[in-house]
Each structure stands twice: as structure tokens, then as C-alpha cells.
Symmetry: C3
Subunit: 222 residues, 3 copies
């Protein structure tokens, strides 16, 4: 009861909140669609598609809130997010055959989502007054754990642990945002700068296939 | 401390509570046994069997409570549930060779459990005053996430996302229960009607192998 | 907000706390390194290595705190744990080729960690005044769920459900600790006795390859 009585945290970004919210809605839509396609690759039924779409879009924020003890969890107070994500998942099953033509648009929306999720996650961690490294992890959990849950439920090794710069872009955005904030930069300006830098970094990483070093270990100890 | 101080939520179903509790106990026993068999298919040791039995039986309610911020989690205040589930898991390893003769009984108990879990989950969501779509998700999480966790721990794609009508029965039961409640139907009567309808639907789905449409997606974007 | 306001639980072991804390730090380092090696077996990038290292070392305590409703979660108030675990993960990628020479040291540190995690988990459960079986589960979750999460994220059946005595050692330590406590044995003495017994048991289990019985089930019901 007491946990539930806590008010919903407003997004602590004053002027930029509207733009970031719109980007957020676009992002969860894109993430839901990517989740639905992953479910289709596993021959799931319509229900499974909707679950995976939901988990991919809203799972990162859910894990963040559960780890930070922030109840009620964000989407539970926003049924419109739930409807949006379910609709996006169902729509995907209808238009899937056309989606590969939109690959570039998808990657762009996904990149926007990654940055928006990371910035929102940082803001949540800040508002709860966690130590800085936890604030950074809050941003990264929001940015990437939806995709991790999607891959676990689809029974594959999470792709974000192996792909070209992705999680590291989330890290870079969080660190830049917190550094500029510590330097006294205005919050809205900070959001704009961090967003633009992060998006550029991600798009360059896709374009030039930048990767982190891979760690391969083959020795068996048995 | 504060979260822990919250009283345990009583099941908010007055007259029907006793019957629903008995069905619940039968259901977690059946779910524990199904978990133990899944562990046996992976050659786990006795300890692994017990863990998978526990997670299958009580994992759905655990995830529901963690997502809804409802602490202490139900089974932590009912050690007798813990003992029951562990016993059922261990017993299964002894009598496993006879269980396939009981396939029909199992499917029936499992169906009862699915409906009971869903109704209990709805009641918990209602008592915490969550919005309606979250209440429905509360019912469905309780109904199906035990099986999802079981399959993730046994390293396979969750079967509830691919099987004949299962999760959708949970959804139907939750929607019917909330609709009748909104229409002013007495709570006990509502429980009986929803239970009977849901059970019939599930048994018919098994009998006639009703399925949701499958979404298969094969295109690689790479 | 309210959950977050709760003070961090001090380790409720007075005199033994310093030794147990040191063992804890050694243990999360060893666990992080084992996680990094597992990530390397899946060809993850440096970021994936760090995530798996983190989850292996601190994931057990995280799940325990989330299940028990204990916020803020332990490591969020100890950034130094975060840095330690990340460093250990990164270091592992550099020195991996030499590590198999240290197999024995690893197994020893891992055994110490298992026991320390279990005792700390029991103490947390006791401090929150959960019923005895939940206190035991608190110890076991702390001891083994880091490894379970590691294996789930690396897409394999958790090895702790199939290996020689491991989880059962955690169980034995928890039961012994609580029994001696109920018998009125001094807390520090109890910690020393339980630690020594548990460590011996684990090392003997490794030496003589003691195993729990395996439950193999092959019948398909379809």
C-alpha cells in the first residue's frame, strides 16, 4: 500500500519534456515493432507477439523501476502506453512483409529511442538521488534491457552484448549528460546537446560498423 | 523496512475465498509437478528440480507482486505454500514414471490453476487500485509467468507463446470478470461464472486444438 | 520516494563483520571474473563482458533484495562495489590466458563466496523478520542466483542445477547457521563455525565429486 501511494515521478525535464515525450512515444512504438519481428522469427502466436512487443518496449523501464524501488512502475500509470505498444505489435504482424524496405527508418527510430530511454533513465535516477554510477546504470538499464529481455525470451544470447556500438552509446550519452549537468549547463540545452551527440555517435557507429573489441575465450577447464 | 511493514493483502473474495484457496493449493501443486517434469527433461539434479518446481508454481505471483510493488510478496508470508511446492517437486521424481497415465488429470488441474491464478491476480490488482488494463495484466502475469520462467530457466522458448489457447483464456477470464464486476454482478457469483466459463473455454481449446494465428517472419535484414 | 528513504541495512554481524566483508569483496571479485570468462565463451564484446561480470557478482543480492522488498538495493549504496566488479571483469579479458593455471584458487574463492553470500543473505532475511524458510531462501538466492542469471543471459541451462554439491552446500550452511542461532550460540562464533563447515563441505564435494541424484525424464506426452 505504502509503495503504491507514492506519486508518479514526473519527467524532470522542464522545457524539453514535450519533445522528449514525443520521441519516447515514437521510440516505444519502434521497439515494440522490433520485438514483434523477433517473435515472428520464433513462430510465436499473436499473443506471444504482443508480450514480446510489450517487453521490448517497456521492459527496460520496468527493470529500472524494480531495481531502483520506484513504485508504481511508470507504465502502470499510463494505460495509453500499454495500448500503443500492443497496437504496434499487432500492426507489425499485418505489415511485416513491407518492413524490410523501412530498415533505415527503423534503425533511425531505434537510435532515437536508445538515446531518449537513456536520458529519461538518468533523470529518474537523479530524481531518486542515487549515487552517480547508479544514475548512469539507470540510464543504461532503461536504454538496453528491453532488448535483453526480448532476446532472453526468444532464447538467444542478447544481441546488445555483441553488436556494433550500442550499449556504449547509451553509456556515452549518460556520462555526457551528467558531466554537462555538473558543469552547470542548463537542463534543456544539456538534453539537446546530449541527444544530438548520442544520435550522431550511434548513426556513425552503424555507418562505419564500429565495434567494441570482442572477448573470445575458448579454454575449457574441466 | 517500510515496504516490509505493509500487511499481507487478504484475498479480496469473501464467500468464494475458501473454494478459490483450495483450487489455488491444488493448482500450485500441479504446476510444481509440471515444473519438476520439465527439469527432469533437462537432467537436473534434485535441487534444480525443486527450484524449477517452485518457480513454476509461485513465480507468476512473485513477478506480479514485484511489478506491482506489493511487498511482502505473498508466499513469503505462507511458509506452508513453500513446503507444499517443494514436496510436490520431490514427489514427482519418485512417481514420474506413472504420471503420463494421468495426462488428462494434469491438463484439467493445470486449466483450473490457470483460471484461479488469473482471478486471484485480478483481485490483487483491483485491491491495489491500479488502472483496468494493469489489473488485467496482473491477472495474466499471475496466470502465465510461472510457465514463462520455467521455460527460460530450462533454456527454451516459452511454450505459452506458441501453444493452443492458453494465455488468451487468461485474458478472456480477466476481461469477463471485470466486465461482470462493472455491471454490478455479485462478487461470488461473478467468480463462479468466470471460473466456469474460463475452464470450459480452456478444455474446449485443448479438445479441438484451437490456436491463435501464428506469426512467422523469416526475412533477415542483415 | 518512501522506499528509497529506507536506511541501508548494516550487516548484522558485529565482530565478524570485517572479516565477512573482506571475504565478500574477494568473492564478488572472483564471481565477476567467472562471469567474464562465461561471456568470453559466447564471444561477447567488452561491454557484454562487464554486464555479465556485474550480474554474476551482484545479481544474487539484487534478486534477493527485489524479492524481499528491501530498497534501496545493497550495491546502489556502495559505488565501490560497482567499480570493483567492473574492474575485475575488464582485467579478466587481459589476463584470461593465464587463468586456467589458477583453477584451484578460483574454485576456492568461489567456494568462499558461496558461503559468505549465503550467510549474508540469511542475515538480511533475519533483519527483515521474514519466516525461517524465507530466511533460508534469502541465503540461497544470494548464494546461487548470480550464477543462474549469468547462465540465462549466456543462453544455457543453469549449471548450479546440475553440478556437484553447490546449492545444497548453501542450504546446509543456512540451516546450520539458523539452528546454532536458535540454540543460543554467539553470533560471531556461529558465523565462524558455519563458514568453516560449509567451506569444508564444498571442498570435499569438489574433491570427491559428490553429486545429488539426477532426475532424468524422457517421456513425451504429446
Amino acid at each position: 500500500m505504502n509503495s503504491i501511494a507514492a506519486p508518479v515521478m514526473p519527467l524532470p525535464l522542464s522545457g524539453a519534456v514535450d519533445v522528449l515525450t514525443i520521441i519516447y512515444l515514437v521510440a516505444i512504438t519502434a521497439e515494440a515493432m522490433s520485438g514483434a519481428l523477433a517473435a515472428g522469427r520464433r513462430d510465436m502466436d499473436i499473443f506471444g507477439v504482443v508480450v514480446i512487443a510489450f517487453v521490448t518496449a517497456l521492459g527496460g523501464g520496468t527493470i529500472r523501476d524494480m531495481v531502483l524501488g520506484r513504485f508504481p512502475i511508470g507504465w502502470t500509470q499510463h494505460p495509453e502506453y500499454i495500448y500503443l505498444v500492443i497496437s504496434a505489435g499487432l500492426l507489425t504482424t499485418v505489415i511485416a512483409r513491407f518492413l524490410h524496405h523501412l530498415k533505415r527508418a527503423f534503425l533511425f527510430l531505434d537510435a532515437m529511442g536508445l538515446i531518449a530511454f537513456s536520458l529519461i533513465g538518468c533523470s529518474v535516477g537523479l530524481a531518486l538521488e542515487y549515487p552517480t554510477p547508479v544514475v548512469i546504470m539507470s540510464g543504461m538499464m532503461t536504454g538496453i534491457f528491453g532488448g535483453v529481455l526480448r532476446d532472453v525470451l526468444c532464447n538467444q544470447v542478447p544481441v546488445v552484448f555483441r553488436r556494433e556500438l550500442y550499449a556504449s552509446v547509451s553509456l556515452a550519452v549518460c556520462v555526457m549528460f551528467l558531466s554537462l549537468r555538473a558543469a552547470g549547463v542548463d537542463s534543456d540545452l544539456n538534453t539537446v546537446i546530449s541527444f544530438a551527440t548520442g544520435l550522431s555517435l550511434r548513426l556513425l557507429a552503424i555507418r562505419y560498423e564500429w565495434q567494441l573489441p570482442i572477448f573470445s575465450y575458448r579454454e575449457r577447464w574441466d
